[in-house]
């Protein structure tokens, strides 16, 4: 009983507070955690904070950030995509084979993938299916297709893709520019356009959006298609960096992408997500998982644990901040 009351009081506080410090702190939390990780890296190895260091450390963060944005779109609609990892792997296999050898076929296949995602969204809406199970099934499908296409690790990324991912712009390392662009595009698309508001509304209050005359079917299909699109971009970016593919290359991305969205301040229900936060969350995870540990001389065994620990610490910080706001 008491628990219910305190919970109610906490959720209510930001609205009552008007200008609320805890709300601001909460919004800044993703950036704060990234800054802390960066400071730790700078303290442990000052030379890493350089043009070259960032390019190296953050290279793999680009596909992770794209996969996180992909996951964010389904989460906006109160769904979850458990297949994004194997999907990224499949896209990688297509990129390293068809897109190089037969660009037209490869491009059509990738477009078809986005179509499949849109169809899945429509199916989930029409039959009122649990997205967890449907995407679970799809994760087998993508992995099976990837193994059929590329039974052994190999293939080669198209030259133009390698060239794009290897760009060395002056002063600012490419991964940082890429992250800013990804965050900006997702932010303006989802948070600043009118249809973006409809999409978020379909997760926040589907009935209201439906009564207002918008097609929930289209909204769901659009969210899933966007997930497919960013999943495709993630797979292509990944192969542009690694230059060759493997059917299992993206498997870890499913859990990483969910963690990134939550770390960035997103919530599972209610269409409450933050594109900028999600990108920052992905960068934090990418940095904490390997460069930070390497500089701390911690064996790679504990890379995965670092991700878990960061998630728990940030979520704990969030609870502390919310409690402060409630006590006020």
């Amino acid at each position: 009983m008491t628990a219910a009351w305190t919970a109610a009081a906490q959720t209510a506080s930001p609205e009552i507070g008007g200008f609320n410090v805890s709300r601001l702190l909460r919004a800044l939390l993703p950036a704060l955690s990234l800054t802390l990780v960066l400071l730790a890296i700078a303290y442990l190895n000052p030379r890493a904070i350089s043009y070259f260091g960032f390019t190296l450390m953050l290279n793999l963060a680009i596909p992770i950030a794209l996969a996180t944005i992909a996951q964010m779109f389904v989460i906006t609609g109160n769904d979850l995509d458990l297949s994004i990892g194997t999907f990224v792997g499949f896209v990688g296999c297509v990129t390293a084979t068809w897109l190089r050898d037969a660009p037209l076929l490869g491009a059509l296949a990738l477009l078809g993938c986005i179509g499949v995602y849109a169809a899945l969204g429509a199916l989930i809406y029409l039959r009122n299916l649990p997205s967890i199970v449907v995407t679970l099934g799809m994760s087998f499908v993508w992995q099976g297709l990837a193994i059929l296409l590329l039974p052994k690790p190999g293939g080669k990324a198209p030259d133009w893709l390698q060239a794009i991912m290897g760009v060395k712009p002056p002063f600012i390392p490419f991964p940082i520019i890429a992250a800013v662009i990804i965050a900006a595009v997702a932010y303006f698309g989802l948070m600043r356009t009118s249809y973006g508001a409809i999409l978020r509304g379909s997760g926040g209050n589907a009935v209201a959006i439906g009564r207002a005359g918008w097609s929930l079917l289209k909204a769901k299909a659009a969210l899933f298609a966007l997930t497919g699109l960013f999943g495709v971009l993630s797979g292509m970016a990944l192969i542009g960096i690694t230059t060759s593919a493997d059917a299992n290359i993206g498997n870890g991305y499913t859990l990483l992408s969910i963690a990134g969205v939550i770390l960035g301040g997103g919530e599972f229900v209610g269409g409450r997500v933050s594109p900028i936060g999600a990108v920052i969350g992905a960068l934090t995870l990418a940095l904490a998982a390997s460069p930070l540990l390497t500089f701390m001389h911690i064996p790679p065994d504990w890379q995965v644990a670092a991700n878990g620990a960061i998630l728990i610490i940030v979520l704990a910080a969030r609870v502390v901040i919310s409690q402060r706001g409630a006590e006020r």
Binding site: M1, A3, A4, A7, L80, L82, L123, R127, N128, L129, P130, I132, V133, V134, L136, G137, M138, S139, F140, V141, W142, Q143, G144, L145, A146, I147, L148, P151, L255, I258, A259, I262, F268, V269, P299, D301, W302, Q303, V304, A305, A306, N307, G308, A309, L311, I312, L315, A316, R318, V319
Partner: protein, 316 residues
């Protein structure tokens, strides 16, 4: 007679058994009746591992939306290593090893609930973060672990009576107990009540926190048990031994007729769905398809089955 049949078909779990029967028949038609019994024996042996974690996952998922235990694979992996180290290949240490695995699993379940409770985060994220950490502990702890299970324990996990695996018989008894706990005991009824409406359950005097705690601890413990059994059956512990049970445990719960929205659970369906999944793989193997096609078809069939079964109807 017709009344019985009609009543049988009204049960949500009957479909998973029919599906299992269908793929089994398809497989033996293909082999011309050869190996029909052996196929069932193998399917029963392998289903056990899915059923054990599936029952734990059923209780967790029944708690309501957002409740799911994603730490099971890491839990199974760690428990398999703990069990093998504690047993150390010695038959007299089997009980100790089993207890160690159960304790390890229960500790993970308790830790999961502590995260959910202390951080007030959705269970899916709590168990996800926990699984990251458990996975690392397992990699570090179980690195290069070459200990074989004690011969007595390995024989026990593979033992059969008239072609029926002993483990399967014990697991049937266990699922009967789980069914009784779910439908006839205060604990199970409380789990169902929380899944239907957490607020109503709380107002009705159900100790919500305590019941959720018990459920996550139960799921963790079953994961630990599964780890020990798997290590016995496959003759050794392995970091990746539990990997397939993340998807499998969720899939059997849903295919078996338990509602992902919570509040409606189905224990017999877990058996049906587990047999279905294992026999499906057996069938595809007898057809001689490649690994890629097998994965592809498994995935498509899961999607088709869930589409045909339909999701939960909109709330009244």
């Amino acid at each position: 007679m017709i009344g019985v049949v009609n009543r049988l078909f009204a049960k949500p779990w009957i479909w998973s058994f029919l599906g299992a029967l269908l793929v089994w028949v398809a497989a033996i038609v293909f082999t011309g009746g050869y190996g029909a019994g052996g196929m069932l024996t193998a399917a029963l042996s392998l289903s056990v591992f899915t059923v054990v974690v599936g029952v734990g996952q059923t209780f967790v998922i029944t708690l309501g939306p957002g409740n799911v235990d994603l730490s099971l694979p890491a839990n199974i992996g760690l428990a398999s290593a703990v069990a093998m180290k504690a047993m150390n290949g010695d038959d007299s240490m089997v009980a100790v090893g089993l207890l160690a695995a159960l304790g390890c699993g229960m500790a993970i379940g308790v830790a999961n609930y502590l995260l959910i409770w202390a951080l007030r985060i959705p269970p899916i994220i709590a168990t996800l973060s926990a699984s990251f950490i458990i996975q690392s502990i397992d990699i570090s702890y179980g690195r290069g672990l070459q200990i074989k299970p004690p011969p007595g324990f390995a024989d026990f996990t593979n033992a059969q009576i008239f072609g029926v695996p002993v483990l399967a018989i014990l697991t049937v008894l266990f699922t009967l107990g789980a069914g009784i706990a779910l439908h006839r005991m205060v604990y199970g009824r409380s789990v169902l009540a929380i899944g239907q409406s957490i607020r109503a359950a709380r107002l009705a005097g159900v100790r919500v926190g305590w019941i959720r705690f018990l459920t996550y601890a139960l799921s963790g413990t079953l994961g630990g048990l599964d780890g020990a059994l798997l290590a016995g059956y496959f003759r050794g512990a392995n970091v990746d031994i539990g990997n397939e049970y993340l998807l499998a445990s969720i899939a059997v719960v849903v295919l078996g007729g338990t509602s992902v929205a919570g509040g409606k659970a189905n224990i017999p369906g877990v058996w049906g769905a587990a047999l279905f999944l294992v026999l499906l793989l057996t069938m595809l193997n007898t057809f001689g398809v490649s690994a890629g096609v097998r994965l592809l078809l498994t995935g498509l069939i899961i999607v088709v089955v869930i589409t045909a079964a339909g999701g939960p109807k909109a709330p009244r």
